[in-house]
């Protein structure tokens, strides 16, 4: 039976890793788009309005792909992890039902917003977008709280036969890991979106397109991203300290702490082995200090649990964590650079190096976010529900998961490629001055749908 465990985990990780990129855009893109819309209306700025309109068209594409890949995830709860869902569906399902409402409202109002550019007027149209941004955050809360619950399960009683009784929905919703995991993920969604969007315009500027359109397209997301990056650092740092307390084995694995002790060395990089870290840069005592602000703090080591209860791929975890923190710090550096120049010159730094840095920040942030999920998910192994249910006991008894995994990889690769092609061709057509629906925002409305020429053909 557990021969299916490996492909099931691979497929889950792959589909989640794909969905989460679109989910980030789904959570945060509407807010960025509304900022541009707001500026456009407030300052009567057609460039900002045009940005908002184009971004909403991009969101239409990414949300469609996000919705279908999200549906696959819902299927996978049954296809891959029936034992998990059978036993705990009634516990964590509570959160997914709430998520359902947010998805509904998000889908409905996003549609109204996207399709409303022509016939709804200025502020009325703006307000139809506001529920989208709110529901994005609500939806992210609900799903990520499920993950937090897997990390810190509570709000139920296990009977002698392993059956769940006495579900307490409020304890499930507001579990211990929610206060740091949920804000960290929502911030991550904003960072991913902001730096991705900014990087697109940075590339355009590097290619010599320095018009106002590109400058504003860079400025809006970059400003939001640079403000949020330090907040993310603080939240992440808090998360790490909480994990040292609540999920000590995960913490030990991501910091490569083999034996419980005080005055533990913090390693940057290096290879984790049974007898300590090989290579890497060691800073004696720093790990203890980070956990308890004193080098005397005791840090739990992997040796406190038997080998079968330790996470796999220790070095991967350690590197993933370091990479995430590295990118987080670099983003703060980028923000300082930007802020300094702005303070002195009221302008975006014009050097090629700054634009190059922004151009790579998008992909780097996505990778940091994926790395963070590897820390969370692989670091929880071998548990699917921390210290309650093992992943190997959760997996399906059906066979053929290697086949579906293969299909999924091929299909998603095509899907990703097609999405990028479509977005690029939209950008190209916009650059050539086609407006894709041949009407300016808030243009004069017409009566009934007149059989006009189709655009974009």
């Amino acid at each position: 039976m557990s021969s299916q465990l490996l492909p099931a985990r691979q497929q889950m990780a792959f589909t989640l890793g794909f969905h989460i990129i679109l989910a980030c855009l789904g959570v945060a893109f509407p807010a960025i788009m509304l900022i541009a819309n707001y500026i456009g209306l407030r300052r009567d700025d057609p460039v900002a309005l045009e940005l908002a309109r184009r971004w909403s068209k991009v969101a239409a594409v990414t949300v469609a792909v996000g919705a279908v890949t999200g549906t696959v995830l819902s299927f996978e709860f049954g296809l891959l992890w029936p034992e998990f869902t059978k036993r705990f569906g009634e516990v964590f399902g509570v959160l997914f039902t709430i998520e359902g409402i947010f998805f509904f409202l998000e889908a409905i109002f996003l549609t109204i917003y996207i399709f409303g550019w022509k016939r709804l007027t200025g502020w009325k149209h703006f307000w139809t977008g506001v529920p989208v941004a709110i529901c994005g955050i609500g939806g992210a809360f609900s799903v990520v709280a499920v993950n937090s619950w897997m990390n810190q399960p509570q709000g139920f009683t296990l009977g002698a036969d392993g059956a769940v009784t006495d579900v307490d929905p409020l304890k499930v919703i507001f579990n211990n890991a929610v206060p740091y995991e949920v804000p960290h993920m929502i911030l991550a969604a904003y960072l991913v979106t902001c730096f991705l969007v900014a990087s697109v315009y940075a590339v355009g500027m590097l290619r010599g397109r320095r018009d106002r359109h590109h400058r504003l397209g860079l400025l809006i997301p970059l400003t939001v991203g640079c403000i949020l990056a330090p907040v993310q650092f603080i939240v992440g740092d808090t998360a790490a300290r909480e994990i040292a307390k609540d999920q000590p084995i995960k913490f030990a694995a991501m910091e490569c702490v083999q034996t419980t002790s005080t005055d533990v060395t913090e390693y940057l990089g290096g290879r984790c082995t049974d007898d300590g870290v090989k290579g890497g840069i060691g800073i004696p005592g720093l790990d203890s200090w980070l956990v308890g602000f004193s080098t005397d703090t005791q840090v739990t080591g992997l040796d406190t649990v038997p080998a079968k209860d330790r996470p796999p791929a220790n070095t991967l975890l350690h590197w993933s964590f370091d990479f995430m923190v590295g990118v987080g710090s670099a983003l703060i550096g980028l923000g300082l650079w930007f802020g300094f120049v702005w303070w002195r010159r009221r302008d975006i730094p014009q050097t090629k190096w700054f634009l190059r840095a922004v151009a790579v920040s998008g992909v780097a942030t996505v990778l940091a976010m994926e790395a963070g999920w590897i820390v969370t998910e692989v670091g929880r192994q071998p548990w699917i529900v921390y210290e309650v249910m093992r992943t190997e006991d959760a997996v399906t008894g059906a066979s053929g998961i290697w086949v579906t995994f293969g299909l999924v990889v091929v299909l998603y690769a095509a899907l990703g490629a097609a999405m990028i092609l479509v977005l690029r061709s939209m950008a190209r057509r916009w650059r050539q001055g086609e407006s894709l629906d041949e009407q300016v925002p808030y243009g004069p409305g017409e009566g009934a749908p007149s059989p006009v020429e189709r655009g974009s053909e």
Partner: protein, 346 residues
């Protein structure tokens, strides 16, 4: 009525709404697939694009709703169904991916060839996805899903007469429903030619769906006896109601009536789904697991009902707004209304 029964009712409301709205979307894809490459085929596809563009994403959330309520309130049944029916459900999931992305890409794809490929994928997956979902329903109805983790036969559970027939019935029903909806949409777009085009197709699909339904009765009698007994027993009034609504649609379409056909068609489908629900009650998995035995902890069930009440309060009015704006053609994207016959392609 117990809380568990109430939640089962909520689940069934979700199933009904998905069948009506999602079904009409699938059916639209079906007609897009068979519209051909002629000038009229192009117009058919533009009409479909224009009609379902603003609503498909919301329609599709009903499926998520059904899945989530199922695994939250009746997780044992969910696990049994998804593990035994791994193959058709995996195929349905892949179909959903192809369908949604095909639809989203078909009008934005860079060139005509890419657009054609997207359309073909959209059409094909619109046909296959409801088919596989139907086989799943047939497997449950005929008692081929035992409790537990993948305890049933991975293949014969859904490759059998009941399943295949139910799959075909799902395809035919969605095509029928979509055609009826598209008659109204053609009228809204002012295209009399397409109005006639879809009227013919609605009549044709109705005959096919009716014939499959009748054949289904015999197959169910032979192999899904519990459901059959229910359909000709307690659920008979609903079955009759469904037939009457269906015949009413035919009459209205033939007369070219402007009102009522859509509502009656949806009513025919809804009555059929509730007939099936009544026939299957009190079982989640016929003769294996009852609603009360398969239900979650009472606090969870109460929470589901509260969330459902919130959904009624917030989601239904929003959906109403969306449909109203669509019907009044306030919402318009890249796709303009299709041009009536006679205008030049270019």
């Amino acid at each position: 009525m117990s809380t568990a029964d109430a939640v089962a009712g909520v689940l069934w409301v979700g199933v009904t709404l998905y069948a009506v709205f999602g079904g009409a979307d699938f059916g639209a894809g079906f007609w897009s697939l068979f519209a051909g490459r002629s000038e009229r085929g192009e117009r058919v596809r533009s009409l479909i694009d224009w009609a379902i563009g603003p609503v498909w994403e919301s329609n599709h959330v009903w499926l998520i709703f059904v899945l989530v309520v199922l695994w939250t309130a009746f997780s044992g049944a969910f696990a049994a169904v998804f593990s035994t029916l791994f193959i058709p459900l995996s195929l349905a999931a892949l179909g959903i991916v192809l369908r949604g992305s095909g639809f989203a890409f078909q009008r934005l794809a860079p060139g005509p060839r890419e657009r054609r490929v997207s359309r073909a994928l959209f059409g094909l997956s619109s046909l296959l996805t409801p088919f596989f979902m139907g086989t799943v329903v047939g497997a449950v109805a005929s008692g081929r899903v035992p409790l537990g983790n993948a305890e049933g036969d991975p293949v014969t559970s859904w490759v059998n007469a009941v399943s295949l027939l139910t799959g075909a019935l799902f395809v035919a029903t969605s095509a029928y429903l979509a055609a009826v909806f598209l008659v109204s949409d053609s009228r809204r777009a002012g295209d009399g030619d397409l109005e006639r085009y879809f009227t013919t197709r609605a009549l044709g699909a109705a005959v096919v769906a009716g014939a499959l339904g009748l054949a289904g009765l015999f197959v169910f009698r032979a192999d899904a006896r519990y459901i059959y007994d229910g359909l000709v027993g307690e659920a008979l009034p609903l079955v009759i109601l469904s037939a009457v609504c269906g015949l009413g649609v035919l009459a209205l379409l033939r007369r070219g009536a402007h009102r009522g056909a859509r509502v009656l068609a949806a009513g025919a489908l809804a009555a059929m789904i509730w007939a099936w629900g009544v026939a299957q009650f009190p079982y989640l998995l016929p003769e294996t697991l009852t609603v009360s035995a398969g239900a979650a902890d009472p606090d969870t069930l109460t929470e589901v009902l509260i969330v459902f009440a919130a959904a009624v309060l917030f989601v239904i009015p929003s959906l109403g707004l969306l449909y109203a704006l669509t019907q009044r053609s306030v919402l318009e994207g890249e796709v303009a209304a299709p041009r009536p016959k006679g205008s030049v392609e270019g």
